[in-house]
Each structure stands twice: as structure tokens, then as C-alpha cells.
Symmetry: C2
Subunit: 151 residues, 2 copies
């Protein structure tokens, strides 16, 4: 009886596809409104204040190539949003971290991006919000492990 699975898979495929398009549009709008390129916004969004990252770490967590990350970081560095120093222990490594200016911006960015989602979520019940959280959480886990196995 995995007719059921097939049907569910089909529906979820369709829905995820649509969600993706919408969220991409949403990200693009948000980045533009804040004077950032989409790639820059995506990168800033994952660096935490105080921590430092290698190019590779950022690349893998963004699902991009290291060379691509070099370019994105170039941009952020030019805007003085991140520092880039050679690691002392192993000078092959770069250590990328937020400048003060970067920290301020990222703080604002995260705040406002969450607010945007708050705006979307404010008219539904708390239970429905939990349903969204649980559903997306499950899906994210599945896609993520699938990717690891198939990449």
C-alpha cells in the first residue's frame, strides 16, 4: 500500500517547489531593501558575532564552492562588514569574522527578518505556527540527510 506514499510524495514535491519560489522572491526583496546582494545576505545570516570561520566552513554550510565564498567575502570585506585574517596556527586558513559594523548590521538583519516572518505568522494560531515549525523541521531534516548521502 505505498500508493499512499507516492501520493504524499507528489503533493509535498509540488508544495515544496512553490514554497521555494516564494521564499526566494522574499529573500531577494529583503536583501535589496537592505542594500545587500542576495549572496551577501545569505552569508551574513549564518555568521555569528564573536565566532570566526574558515572559507571552507562557510562554503559547506552555504552549499557553495570555496571559490564562490572568496568572492562573497571580498564584497563583505570591501564594505568593512567582515575581517579576514590569516590563522596563526595554520597560515593556510583564513579567519573570517564580523567587524563591529558587521555585528550591528547582522543584529538588525536577523531582527528584521524575523519580524517579517512574525508579520506573516501573526494572524494564525499558535498551534498552527507549531504545525509549520514541526512540518518544516521534519522536511529540513530529511532533505539535509538526503543531500549528505547523495552529494
Amino acid at each position: 500500500m505505498d500508493m499512499k506514499l507516492k501520493q504524499q510524495a507528489s503533493a509535498i514535491t509540488e508544495l515544496t517547489f512553490d514554497l521555494l519560489r516564494c521564499c526566494e522572491a522574499k529573500e531577494k526583496m529583503f536583501a535589496k531593501d537592505h542594500g545587500l546582494k542576495v549572496a551577501e545576505f545569505r552569508c551574513l545570516r549564518i555568521v555569528e558575532a564573536g565566532k570566526s570561520y574558515s572559507v571552507q566552513e562557510l562554503a559547506t554550510s552555504m552549499h557553495l564552492s570555496p571559490s564562490r565564498l572568496t568572492r562573497i567575502i571580498d564584497g563583505l570585506f570591501a564594505e568593512k562588514l567582515v575581517d579576514r585574517v590569516q590563522s596563526i596556527e595554520d597560515r593556510r586558513f583564513a579567519k573570517i569574522s564580523l567587524t563591529n559594523k558587521g555585528q550591528t548590521l547582522v543584529g538588525k538583519l536577523k531582527e528584521e527578518y524575523a519580524d517579517l516572518h512574525g508579520e506573516m505568522l501573526k494572524d494564525i494560531s499558535s498551534e498552527d505556527r507549531d504545525k509549520i515549525y514541526n512540518g518544516i523541521s521534519l522536511m529540513q531534516g530529511l532533505v539535509s540527510t538526503w543531500l549528505v548521502r547523495n552529494a
Copy 2:
């Protein structure tokens, strides 16, 4: 007490963001494996056999500009996957539809893309699949209406 909302919004923001990156990687892999550009796959995925579409229809449903669509269709046309004819009633309109070759491909594409998701979903319970469906469905609706209002 909309502290709760803020917290939920924050968590959903984070999760959606991660899901997005993974699904983009997934789409890219799938398109590449089928010898298609990502944009082409995305376009083919929304055209149904037997129907015909204007450039604008495709553009809006893909959240892209008409000019971008012209180029994507150029590519599909060159590969003889779609036909492009002038509408007889109003010759400003283009009527884009799948060729036989296109129909065959799209059928296979949809089948295999759903199978890929079936593969991901096969090890969880039917109830959890419903949770995913419900969660993503809710979210998709919210983002979609938000976009309409804010674009």
C-alpha cells in the same frame, strides 16, 4: 504575550532558510542529472501537457520577468521541447506548449522528481508525512499572500 510569536517566528525563519538552501542544492543536482539548466527544469515543471501559456503567465507563476522567460523558452524551443506560436485571436500573445518530446520528458521529470521525494519520505510514518504536508502547506500560503501584498 507575543513573546511566543517572536520566538516561533525566529525559529521558523531559521528553519525555512536552511530548508531553502538544501532544496536549491537538490534542484540543481536533479536538473544537472537530467541535462537541464535549473531554470529550464523549473519552467518545464509548471507547464502541463495539452495546455498553452503566454509568456506573461509563465513569468508570473515563476516569479520572473517576461524577458527572462523569453530566454528560457528560447532554450527549450531550441531543444524542441516546446512550441511557440502566435495566438490567432490576439497576435501579440505567444502560445507556449509542450511538444511530444517535451511531454514525454516532463512526464518522466515529474515522475522521477516525485520518486526522489518518495525516497526521502519512505522511512518516516504516514502521519509524519501528513505533518510535513500540513506545515509546508500553511507556510506556503502565508508566504504567497505576503508576497502578493508586499510586491
